[in-house]
């Protein structure tokens, strides 16, 4: 099918600014779903609140646009009550890791089969450019006019430490890699996290003088490198891209099936 067969054309044009990275994520995600040949009826997209979270309205799946930070909690209810569904959870960085940080680590700990996509633009886009837990020190934001003193999380380290069984990272420059990683993440049975470094030219870019959207995307090429590359050894400050964790352990819903079996025997 063509990408347009997966979107709700009735609801376009979308609300994102020109040059926003969120559209690239949408496009790459639909390509992954198409490549996997999934039926639209078996996909549920659950999102929170933010520019990124509006993605769920545009896709022709079952879509649940929830509360700021709570997407993974809603998604847990959808998945556990109907484990055969593929549940994809796109989130902004603030959505996933500030207000939603607790749900993020607990979903990872449970290893419930959800595909979490962190659309990391290092800023709160929807509310107009405040710093997020992924902004990092030295960043300018509307709430950090003297430059940010908060340290940032590393999404990959955090997700891995919390127990996610599939953890990957890429950027909007590497659109094809987004598709590949999402394919693997959706197929993975367990909690998977894909961080996509994305650009918000309107706030993050403008505040921090990073140039146009194109400049910002090209910058992702310069500041990242594949995991374990020679470039990484020579330039340790480079951010690695690729799959960091991929392991098989018991998935939550299938573990609950065992609970049901035990409970029924004891009846």
């Amino acid at each position: 099918m063509a990408v347009k067969d997966y979107i709700r054309e009735r609801f376009f044009p979308h609300m994102w600014c020109p040059g926003c990275g969120h559209g690239i994520v949408l496009n790459s995600m639909l390509r992954a779903i198409d490549a996997l040949g999934l039926s639209k009826n078996e996909i549920v997209m659950v999102s929170g609140i933010g520019c990124s979270s509006r993605i769920s309205g545009y896709v022709d799946f079952h879509s649940l646009h929830t509360l700021h930070g709570r997407a993974l909690a809603f998604a847990t209810g959808v998945k556990l009550s109907r484990p055969e569904l593929n549940v994809i959870v796109p989130m902004g960085d603030g959505d996933a890791l500030a207000i939603g940080g607790n749900h993020f680590i607990h979903a990872a700990r449970r290893n419930i089969d959800l595909t979490a996509v962190v659309m990391n633009n290092r800023i709160y886009g929807m509310t107009g450019g405040q710093y997020s837990p992924l902004s990092g020190q030295g960043i300018l934001a509307t709430t950090a006019p003297y430059s940010n003193i908060d340290s940032d999380f590393d999404v990959v380290d955090l997700a891995s430490a919390a127990g996610a069984t599939f953890v990957a990272r890429t950027t909007t420059y590497h659109a094809r890699q987004i598709t590949d990683l999402l394919k693997a993440a959706i197929l993975h049975e367990g909690f998977s996290v894909v961080e996509v470094m994305s650009q918000c030219p309107t706030y993050f870019g403008r505040k921090n003088r990073l140039g146009s959207a194109v400049d910002m995307v090209e910058r992702f090429k310069k500041i990242t490198t594949p995991i374990g590359s020679k470039a990484k050894r020579e330039h340790p400050e480079l951010i690695e891209r690729g799959i960091f964790v991929q392991k098989e352990t018991t998935e939550y819903c299938s573990a609950y099936d065992d609970v049901i079996e035990k409970a029924m025997k004891g009846n």
């Binding site: 609801f11 659950v46 646009h65 509360l67 909690a73 998604a75 847990t76 209810g77 569904l85 607990h106």
Partner: protein, 382 residues
């Protein structure tokens, strides 16, 4: 067949009723005095193939049940004071997105951590207005385990009928007290099942277009109809909209579907109202003491009556006005600083004849407490 009779806590009666009503998904977080509901359901649900999950907090709990309701299940969560505060945003979401679910609040003393192991009825207004924005809500309560069973089943029925969250506002007294419960047989209390759309696949389905009777058929997530669900104002497809006619239409629909049906939603019991000079209005465990006083004073020839409210919200103003029309005084018996008493004052013709008999020190309100207020009204002093 002999009826099954149990001797149980109120919380257990709630669990029995929820299972009777068809509950098959529960998410919760432990908190006194509601914890037994979660504990018992962790045992009972998987036995019937249902799901129980202990979430990381109450925010996650209410979100998880909303998600599970959308896949076509009957869902519930249970909590107390602080946890109910955390659920308010999710409650508003369920109202806005019209997702059937049942939320039990076994009330304890507040504000804040308050009095974890003591009873209170302090959350009546929180149930009404705890979540932000204009809205309507259904909240119900009961004073005995048999009634609690019935009301819990009806809460599930109303949630499905009106596509709305229903709050069960019990209290510590009822939750922890042990009492006889006769389990109704299957079919004895009618059950309302999910109304699913008959629209065929491939035909445009409007999840938010009410039928002529005001009801909105649903389609399960994972089925043939794909649609959007959001907490934003939305059009008939569930797509976000800020168009004034759409916003106006939706808020009116959300409020009207409950308030136009006050009489269908109102549940109450009445004792000796026919000839009563003075009427008690009470609910939940406080109504037990009120009923005692009615019975004992009647023996002494005093003409007292009791209107026990089981539906607190939407408040049955007309009902209260009618029932109190001939009363000299109306005494509202509740364990808070005066919440339902204000609604009763709004309902009756002579609000200055409405008096509060309350107790707020964590101790269950007694016959003596109520009698003292009666004496004051009658100018006898205590």
């Amino acid at each position: 067949m002999a009826k099954q009779i149990k001797f149980v806590q109120g919380n257990e009666a709630c669990v029995e009723a929820a299972i009777y009503a068809g509950l098959d998904f529960f998410a919760g977080y432990p908190i006194t005095p509601s914890t037994e509901i979660a504990e018992l359901l962790s045992q009972r649900l998987p036995r019937k193939g249902g799901k129980f999950i202990q979430m990381e907090d109450e925010i996650a709990s209410i979100c998880a049940i909303i998600g599970a309701s959308l896949t076509g299940h009957k869902v519930m969560t249970a909590t107390s004071g602080p946890g109910f505060s955390l659920m308010q945003e999710g409650l508003g979401y369920a109202i806005m997105a019209e997702i059937p679910c049942v939320i039990v609040n076994v009330q304890r003393g507040g504000p804040s951590t308050g009095l974890p192991t003591h009873g209170s009825q302090g959350d009546v207004y929180q149930a009404r207005w705890g979540t932000h924005g204009d809205h309507a809500i259904i909240a119900m309560t009961a004073s005995s385990h048999q009634d609690l069973f019935q009301i819990t089943v009806e809460a599930f029925n109303l949630a499905e009928t009106y596509r709305t969250p229903v709050i069960l506002l019990f209290d510590e007294g009822i939750g922890h007290m042990r009492e006889r419960l006769v389990l109704p047989e299957k079919g004895e209390i009618p059950l309302v099942e999910r109304l699913r759309t008959a629209v065929k696949g491939g035909v445009d389905f409007h999840p938010y277009l009410p039928r002529e009777d005001g009801r909105l058929p649903m389609a399960d997530f994972g089925g043939i109809h794909r649609y959007n669900v959001t907490g934003l104002y939305h059009d008939m497809w569930g797509f976000p909209s800020d168009s004034p006619p759409i916003v106006h239409g939706l808020i009116r629909h959300l409020v009207d579907k409950i308030h136009n049906n006050v009489n269908h939603i109102a549940r109450y019991k009445e004792y000796h109202l026919e000839d009563a000079d003075n009427i008690f209005i009470s609910y939940g465990s406080a109504a037990r003491s009120a009923l005692h006083v009615v019975k004992s004073q009647r023996k002494k020839g005093e003409r007292l009556g009791l209107l026990e409210l089981q539906t607190l919200w939407p408040f049955p103003y007309d009902l209260v006005r009618e029932k109190c029309a001939r009363a000299r005084f109306v005494l509202v018996v509740e364990m808070n600083m005066g919440q339902i008493v204000l609604e009763v004052k709004r309902a009756v013709e002579k609000p200055d004849r409405v008096v509060l008999a309350n107790r707020v020190d964590g101790v269950f309100i007694t016959d003596a407490d109520i009698r003292n207020t009666l004496r004051i009204i009658e100018g006898k002093g205590v």
